[in-house]
Symmetry: C2
Subunit: 431 residues, 2 copies
């Protein structure tokens, strides 16, 4: 119990204690924080040291005098646990530090949240088997939906780190080349098939040197925590550009992460079994000691507020357990070549979908590749996102005072910016 | 003319003045430098300010008190030109600063070179049309060698920035999954088809904000300079993993860049026409004002010293003009979505190949996908790289006292590191 009020159905109970970076108009310096109820607790405050029980307490406090969480994350799990425990001491009912803490609390509504980590490299996986199957079925039919490698390794690709932004940052509709099947030469236009991808992501804590790998048994120690992620996608750009080297401009215009990083200390109790690998026997480097605990039972919801309407409606609802591979398996696979990971690196899970039309993580699946409009509430149907549409992802596990939530991962679509460029209509295919 | 001796056939004439980062055992602090003859000139030395003619001379000198070239590159072309001109004043015959300069010169053999830029994101393009055609022909035949998008846009993908290393850094053979056509389940083994990719690369100077783009007419202003690059590639890993999202572990174990960044001030005189786009009319955002000057007439050579042998032999020889798209076109395409570029971002050209067997930039092309051994000198044939093999890329334009060279881009292959993992032979395909 805490002297801080925690409303019903709040993401930020005492079971959570997530990490983020905030600033205020009174103090614009970015600094580490946690969230309790609707309040933000400044972790760069001097009182933290009073409750911190760790041999390296001074190092930890130093690491928290920073504009990102990287230095803190690099100290690994013991530091994370020590700060968590210190926070619980500071805010508990009858805490000896109640007065001090109360004077520094900032209501969330008065805080600006920032990108929590400096991201060296961002990798996006494709471990949502139902999503991969849904997409593969649309383009190749159910028999060939999954590629032969799919159940043997976590398929992934390198993403663009420079455009990973924190929840709330507007996303500008990209311009690009598209080439519909009726064209013989490409169009140049604003993206007409703007989509979301609902993902969970993790950040790296302990780095590994180039030429070394992170063993699957140690991978958990290299993960700082988890966040919501929206991998905005330009489907028409992607369809034309992606052969043979994968998605590029279709993804590089923006990826939104939640402001809060939720740790394994909070989520560990919600570990569960992931999707079935259809009989594939995994190679030893991908075998987890406890195969039944690889993923998280986290409810994931997608809300949309169509341009010009008042309220958000829940459009899709799924669960983070819909993954074939765990983040530990992703880390082990990514580094098995000797690929170096740095503190702050971001790994996306891939789109997370269930098996029916409303339990998906993208419009592409729900609209059957542009064939069926999706009900986005407020009496509106949408094939793809329009300018002014707002999307909010939410995720949480548990309930009551044990609820552990991610806050929101939000973005609004800005109209394309043309500058001196103009729309070009390519040539029609001769028939 | 300079009081510094410049040997015959030297890459580092007064026409060059490249930029790099060095340290010495006497002074292990990394700092900016240029190369003249076989000497290194420390650009963090106080005497630079004496010869520097620029309104922002103090800013420039500050930016050069740094362990990377990022701060200097961010000042753009005027600062680059001012430093170039100052260097030429400092080292000219009868320079008033000769004594001071001579006391600070360091022989290259006494210097350690470091990664010149802090790289935020690394993108690898695929603009070597002959290479794409050679590879496409091997896998799909000449009629379908190039994908429909190939001549319309510079195909590219995001690479791994954390494992970009400077020339001379050893490269460890990666472990990974492979699945030869005779297998029904994958093997786990050390890469057996380790290859190089000979590329030219550029670094970004001026950044652009997310949501903005760099116009093709301005793209040159956003490029700091050019470097050699070896995109080491695990072909057997790539063949199994790359569908449908592109190369990932096949590339993330290491990418080597040359230590020297050669500027447009040095290379501009060698601009020439790139490869023909087979009649494709480019969209306006990719059209250059001067279409005949997009690429560089730079001789590119690949030398190999097989494990246990004494000398290097020239194995492949080609030219950097074998590109369908210029770096300006790559920048314009990459940012047309509003993708932010940061100072220090690295863009690879894609493998550069000519049209015959010895003018290629990879073993994959020369050995016809593992069918014909390649003569690597010293009486040795190689299908792919073996442990202990050393590869050196070199590149230069012009000759005599106008020669502009890149130095070398070198790496040696270390044996795979197994740790507790073991080789696994997958199941054979039932026939
Ligand atoms: Ca994705
Ligand atoms: Ca390449
Ligand atoms: Mg994205
Ligand atoms: Mg590479
Ligand atoms: Ni990156």
């Amino acid at each position: 119990m805490s002297f801080i009020n925690i409303p019903k159905d709040c993401d930020f109970t005492l079971a959570n204690i997530p990490f983020g970076i905030f600033s205020t108009s009174a103090n614009p310096t970015r600094r580490p924080c946690t969230a309790i109820g609707t309040q933000i607790l400044d972790l760069s405050s001097p009182f933290l040291s009073k409750a911190l029980k760790a041999d390296n307490a001074a190092n930890i406090c130093d690491a928290l005098q920073s504009t990102t969480l990287n230095a803190f994350a690099a100290l690994g799990k013991p530091a994370r646990v020590a700060v968590r425990n210190a926070v619980l001491e500071l805010v508990k009912t009858d805490s000896q530090w109640q007065g001090e803490v109360e004077r520094t609390l900032v209501p969330m509504s008065d805080a600006t949240m920032h990108l929590p980590m400096e991201i060296g490299d961002y990798t996006d996986f494709y471990a949502g088997l139902n999503h991969a199957f849904n997409i593969g079925t649309l383009f190749r039919g159910p028999a060939n939906a999954l590629q032969p490698n799919y159940t043997h390794l976590p398929v992934g690709y390198h993403g663009r780190a420079s455009t990973v932004v924190v929840s709330g940052t507007p996303i500008r509709r990209p311009l690009g080349q598209t080439c519909p099947p009726t064209n013989s030469t490409p169009n140049f236009d604003a993206c007409k098939r703007l989509d979301i991808e609902l993902e969970l992501a993790c950040y790296i804590s302990l780095p590994n040197e180039m030429g070394e790998r992170v063993d699957i048994d140690d991978a958990g120690e290299h993960i700082f925590g988890y966040s919501l992620m929206n991998d905005w996608s330009a489907r028409d750009v992607q369809a034309w550009e992606y052969v043979p080297l994968g998605p590029f401009n279709a993804k590089n215009f923006g990826t939104t992460v939640g402001a809060w990083i939720v740790t394994d200390e909070a989520l560990g109790g919600f570990r569960t079994r992931g999707l079935d690998g259809r009989g594939t026997v995994l190679l030893p480097y991908l075998k987890e000691k406890d195969e039944g605990k690889g993923v998280f039972d986290v409810t994931l919801d997608v809300f949309v507020k169509p341009n010009g309407k008042e309220g958000f409606s829940k459009v899709f609802a799924t669960n983070a357990k819909n993954l074939l591979f765990s983040f530990s398996q992703m880390v082990a696979h990514h580094t098995v070549t000797g690929c170096a990971m740095r503190t702050g690196d971001l790994l996306g899970s891939g789109t997370i979908s269930g098996t029916d039309k409303t339990s998906v993580g993208s419009f592409l699946e729900a609209n059957k590749n542009g064939k069926e409009e999706v009900d986005v509430g407020s009496g509106v149907g949408r094939m793809w996102l329009e300018d002014g549409d707002e999307v909010v992802l939410r995720g949480y596990a548990g309930d009551g005072d044990k609820r552990v939530g991610f806050g929101e991962c939000a973005g609004v679509i800005l109209p394309a910016k043309w500058g001196r460029l103009e729309r070009v209509q390519g040539q029609a295919k001769q028939v």
